[in-house]
Amino acid sequence: MENPDTFRADVAKWLEENCPPSMRKPMGSEEEANWGGRRKQYANPEEKLWLDRMAARGWTCPTWPKEYGGGGLTAAQARVLADELRKIRARPPLISFGITMLGPVLLEYGNEEQKREHLPKIVRGEIRWCQGYSEPGAGSDLAGLQTRAEDKGDHYLVNGQKIWTSYANYADWIFCLVRTDPNAAKHDGISFLLFDMESPGVSVSPIKLISGSSPFCQTFFQDVKVPKKNLVGVKNGGWTIAKKLLQHEREMIGGMGFGLAASGGGATMEQLAKEYCGDDSGRIADPVIRSEVVQHLMDQRVFATTVRRSVEEAKAGQGPGAASSMFKLYGTEMNKRRYELLVKILGSQALGWEGSGFSPRELATTREWLRSKGNSIEGGTSEVQLNIIAKRVLGLPD
């Protein structure tokens, strides 16, 4: 095994030489992270260059095996890479549901042909994936889904409707839960299918949220033909894969709450509190706000420490397990509290919608506050996470 210090030095040197300058500063509020995909428009050639260089080394998916385009790094090496990226404040070259959700599942359950076809494209950001899980009648009761896929010999015929499909309007392919046996018990008749969003019969319409934006869509399938080779795992055995993928999703959303909270967008919460609630010779003048700001900073610290402990305990073969539900629960609830507190601090300046009278930061906070309301609903509601902890960790009876 390579000397860890040599590895760190090599990584640092390579990043120094290859990360373009414009990819080393925080994103502006109007800029979007690079999600890749067939329809990705690069506003900046350096964004494309950065992705291509990182993808060529497999470092968009550092721990995936090299034969599927990944970096082939150990977990420890991947942490070094992440450290070094953080040091130069590099933007992520690519973020996607392919990386965080589908890839790990394909590595575990996909066949060789599926891995060779899909994983390298995820690494290179060529295909943008979306997730077809929730349905209008089946939100928290995910296994109650009705979209059906009939076996037509050489293909499946898919009919039904999905909802809350994040970024379906930008996605190239979908990973989708479908019912392949309507007569089986509800968890036993589900399969996991992959298909191209350009297939005839697929249509998408965005859902506008209370925050004014529309990351989510309704997605409709009418007689969509899906080749049989696109079934992942065994037919009617999709629920196992679905659960595993949900775990990756929970980790991603829980971690997102933490990441957002850590970023702060320039001013710290205590600076904002002094600015909007009064500064009493360096102290936040309002004692209640002061106490709430502290409480929030403490929550963040305690949560970050717990995430760290979970990683270190997992390495040592210890730990409480089912940590992903706890992180999803706490991370999202904490993120919501953060925005409630920001609104309280900004006061009426947090209530603007558009036009003059409000700074871009204030307007962004308002919308982020509204968007955060979805955090504890998407990816399994807080109540669902509480049920999972009660059942799987505490062993409480049904």
């Binding site: 509190a273 936040i284 002061r290 305690v302 270190e312 049920n387 902890i389 009660a390 409480l396 049904d398």
Partner: protein, 379 residues
Amino acid sequence: MSLALSEEQELLRNTAREFIAEHSPVKELRRLRDSNDPVGFSRELWSQMAELGWAGIVLPEEHGGADLGYAELGIVLEECGRTLAATPLFSTLLLGANALLLAGDGTQRKEILARVAKGEAILALALQEGAHHAPYQVATRAEASRDGYKLTGKKTFVQDGHVADQTVVVARVSGKPGERDGLALFLVPKNARGLQVTRTVMVDGRNAAQLQLDGVEVDRSAAIGTVGRGADVLDPVLDRATIGLCAETLGTVAEAFERTVSYLKTRKQFGVAIGSFQALKHRAAVMFTEVELSRSIVLDALRAIDEKRPDVPLLASVAKARLSDTAFLVGNEAVQMHGGIGVTDEEEIGLFLKRARVAELTLGDAAYHRARFAALSGF
């Protein structure tokens, strides 16, 4: 330092858990309480703990200590917290011995620390004067006399003060109550003339005392550290003691929580286990999350002391605020979920509530530590 336990630490935890379960189960606290034991803990148990090396676990070898870290002390404290074990570990090692370790002169350290490590000397810290923890709110006066100082004032909530061989008394040589400057720490022996000690019976069955100092005379050599700069000693002592107390409290809340979960699984109502009710399940899952978060911050804070990190004061406040809140939540929920039996003296869960509340208010509650965190952070 990793937050996961090492093999040696796991071994220590298992030893501690077995030893304490055998020698100091919860019923031992009940026995001490019901027999109005004048000491309030078992001296025999304390000697045995000293033999295991726990009385001086963080003291250096030159003073007979085991020279281990707070990570290890925290493990022992956590296990003590699980059975509400009454021991003078907190008063003697975390408060008294730490003051000597951090600022005592050669003679003080040499004479007292070795006796602490052997389990022979009990120490205490007399700080608090009002109903709330406020370390600089000291009115007790220390007036210079011919050979030393004359101490006059009143102290309250002095843990193990009624049996301490020596008590570290915080007094003021100048300034007004509330000011950081002007404090001094003095070692006062239990038989000092003018010292009146009254044991108070506390809700948790453990020990605290009130001290009345009527012109207690001490030599100059009784001062710990620089007279007038006592806060420089007091602050780090309180940080360490606070973090140690958090480790003990973690054990108390973890045990109360686990007992409650097993009660939810066995207690039947309406023909089913009450743990099948979502109203209780969700609250249990919330408690689990709070206990896990509490554990993380306690482990990190203990390691911060060992690593001599500059953020120890901040972490002491983060940990204490968290553990105070968790102790409040779990103590109350544990009793509520036990239903009628939970409010009887016969059932042990009530003892956990009582201990949790004492721990919550000892060395500052959550509100105190949030305010302190803000002050330390400069806002």
